[in-house]
Amino acid sequence: MRTLRLVILHELKSTASKRSFWLMTLLFPLLITAISLGPQLLARRSVESELNTAADAVTNGSQPLGYVDASGLIQQLPPDLNPAALRAYTNEAAVRAAVRSGEISGYFLVPADYLRSGSAVLVTPELSLMTADQRSGQLDYVLRYNLAGDANLASLLRDPTPAVVATSLAPAPSATETTRRGPATSILPIAVMFILFFVITMSASYMLQSVVKEKENRTAEVLLVSLHPRDLMLGKVIGLGALALGQMAIWLVGGMLLSGGGLGLGGLLRNPQVTASLAQTDVPAGLGLPSGFALWALLFFLGGYVVYSSALGALGALAPNMREGSQFTFVFLIPLLTPVWLNYVFTEQPDGPLATILSLFPLTAPTAMVARLTAGGVPFWQAAISFIGLAVTAYFFIHLAARFFRADTLLSSGSLSWRRIGSELRR
């Protein structure tokens, strides 16, 4: 028991004394926020402004375009189109000169065989796919107007159902159904899943690194003189798990301090002021997270951590060095990664068969069930069964990993292969 405590303390001290650990702990949330929200906000603003400029240009003719109509179809412009927005030129040389002089911002070429081919070209100094639709739409409208001879029909031919009043005739949804489709539910399950995936893989790979490092620099040889291999493994799992929890606690507290205080996640989310201020800043934090979510998230994190850290710990016990170990890591993490890959399943059909299967299968449950819980509407029995399955698997994995943690594996420098992993499992 004393040796176990020593191992735990050592893992805590050695990892926590690394500057890079603190760098990661403090910078990670900033990084995630910057990466996930920054580009979105930036993109939204610039996409909106681009599209608005293009729309303005079409309606008020601030960026007029020219056209050369070799088909002779364009006889007149629709009455609702600003005549300054689209100007006719007789040949391409003239229209190019007009672009160069800044008179127009680009031009269309309508070929002689337009009626048959339906193709046209938009020539601009700088290409932009984003505004291509709006600009090409203008030409399409003009051509359809000239073919149909009526502005109303031309625009209906472009879009026959510009206004659709859609009504659902299904029976009124149940209470759980209505609470869960909040505005933020589309991004939130994915965000929570990513965070959980990241924290579990990071803390589990600390485990791998810690074991392999001691193997590589031969500390293991010395340690095993006075320590049972099982204690070594348990100590590492507990010590590194405590660190990962500490890390999450720092993020949680930091997040709450930044968003104006509150008593626990639940209190924060129920605080109408905070919710309102979050809604104003466009940050989809926690809007409509079901109660008890924090507890479930913690339980699934712990279960997932134990499963994956013992798996990677076992891998570390077999791997002769970090390089070989990390080549196998990916394969070990595939189950955890699968829900992240299939993330759209959790926003499209959080109660669909695939999402349900993924959230009940113990190896995918840590990310999948938490994503579904974020979306809400998960029956209690499903969450409970999933967690029990995960807990049993965790127990089983710890025992399995303990079989790998033996003096002979820890001291051997044999190469890592599937055959070796298989034969160790059968022992």
Binding site: S20, G118, L127, M130, D150, P162, V165, A166
Partner: protein, 404 residues
């Protein structure tokens, strides 16, 4: 020079012959195949093939429209009550009501059950409506092909004023190809520089480095390793590309969009020009990190942050798509770590001015050269210090040439 090749060959064959190389390379392909399979099953399984109803009070549909090529059957109902019954009975998935004043108000009503019909279903109805509208307009028209043109509209191709670039917005694959190619190459760069970091720190930790430098100069050691590992990543990439090409060749028969795919020589040229200096830059930085940081665990965390610097343009891809010639796009193109990725993101969307390409390449090559020289100096100093971090003073001393 001979020793450099020896190190490179050793690193290359040592890795490629490992079974984990083959397993890793193929498992990514297998995973992609499985995910695509599941997605296809979900898409096909989730498709609702029940007919779509409509109540035509506007009297637009002269005859019952034929079934659309890729949509559900359209079924006419005399009035809304009958359609509602059919919807409740699950015979149809949804129904539209075209009001009498549809032509002036341009508004339609859509009634559905639990799930709103997908875009494909609504598109099929739009197509049918468009056909009826065109027929109605052109009963007396003598001009052949007008009706078809009214239904199908115009396909506009984008061309730059200097004629260097042409984009067909309907074949988005062409525009995304440079983006994908850049992504694959930068992944190869980052994974091989990651291997380099691992190899260097591992040899530093297990003291192989001490033995190696008795016969090798740091440049031979680091240079040989980076060349060998680059070749490993390129081999992996070549396998993926070969499989992708085979998949396109087969898939092209079913999806015509794929068969028209072509790679412009300009794109290949730019990748060739920028790829090597970008790799030299990151390999140099990784070597320096490996030398400065005391162990693998710490150096990998810093390396992760460094990799981010290469991926920034992908995070900002939406901004670059919206404004591929804006100040942000130009800045990312000129900044050495983001140059390669920024160019690959912008390539499909716009024409990058020649001066930007030239300036970006020169800046990248100069910074890559700096990074390699810097790394060699730091490495000479830090290679033998195990378990302790180089401080700023000894880094300065190493760069001043007093370290060795």
């Amino acid at each position: 020079m001979g020793k450099l090749w020896l190190v490179a060959r050793q690193e290359y064959w040592g890795r490629v012959r490992q079974r984990s190389f083959l397993v890793g390379t193929l498992s990514i392909l297998a995973i992609i195949a499985v995910i695509m399979g599941i997605t296809a099953i979900i898409v096909i399984g989730g498709r609702d093939d029940r007919p779509l109803g409509y109540v035509d009070r506007a009297g637009l549909f002269a005859a019952q429209p034929g079934p659309a090529a890729d949509g559900p059957e359209l079924r006419a109902f005399a009035d809304e009550a009958v359609a509602r019954e059919a919807l409740a009975a699950g015979v149809i998935q949804a129904f539209y009501v075209l009001p009498e004043d549809y032509l002036s108000r341009r508004e339609v009503a859509l009634f559905y059950g639990k799930d709103k019909p997908g875009e494909g279903v609504r598109g099929a109805f739009d197509d049918a409506l468009r056909g009826s509208l065109a027929q109605r307009t052109l009963a007396a028209s003598a001009l052949a092909g007008v009706q078809q043109r009214l239904i199908e509209g115009t396909q506009v191709t984008l061309r730059s004023l200097d004629g260097r670039r042409q984009i067909d917005p309907s074949s988005i694959v062409d525009a995304l190809l440079p983006f994908l190619a850049g992504f694959l190459f930068i992944m190869a760069t980052i994974s091989s520089s990651g291997y380099l970091l691992q190899a260097l720190t591992a040899e530093k930790e297990n003291r192989t480095a001490e033995v190696m430098i008795t016969t090798l100069t740091p440049l031979q050691l680091v240079g040989g390793k980076s060349l060998g590992l680059m070749a490993v990543s390129l081999t992996q990439l070549a396998i993926w590309v070969a499989v992708a090409l085979a998949a396109i060749a087969v898939g092209g028969r079913y999806f015509p969009e794929l068969s028209g795919l072509h790679v412009s020589p300009g794109l290949i040229g730019v990748i060739l020009l920028f790829f090597l200096p970008a790799y030299a830059l990151i390999a140099g930085l990784m070597t320096a990190i490996g030398a400065i940081m005391p162990d693998q665990q710490q150096s990998q965390q810093i390396a992760g942050l460094l990799n981010m610097m290469f991926f920034v343009p992908y995070f900002l891809a939406a901004v670059l798509f919206a404004n591929p010639n804006g100040p942000l796009a130009v800045a990312l193109t000129l900044f050495p770590t983001t140059a390669f990725t920024a160019i690959s993101v912008r390539w499909g969307m716009t024409t990058i001015p020649t001066w930007q390409l030239a300036a970006s390449w020169i800046i990248l090559v100069v910074s890559a050269a700096f990074s390699v020289v810097f790394a060699a100096q730091i490495f000479r100093m830090g290679m033998l210090t195990y378990g302790q971090r180089l401080d700023a003073r000894s880094i300065r001393a190493a760069l001043g040439g007093r370290g060795s």
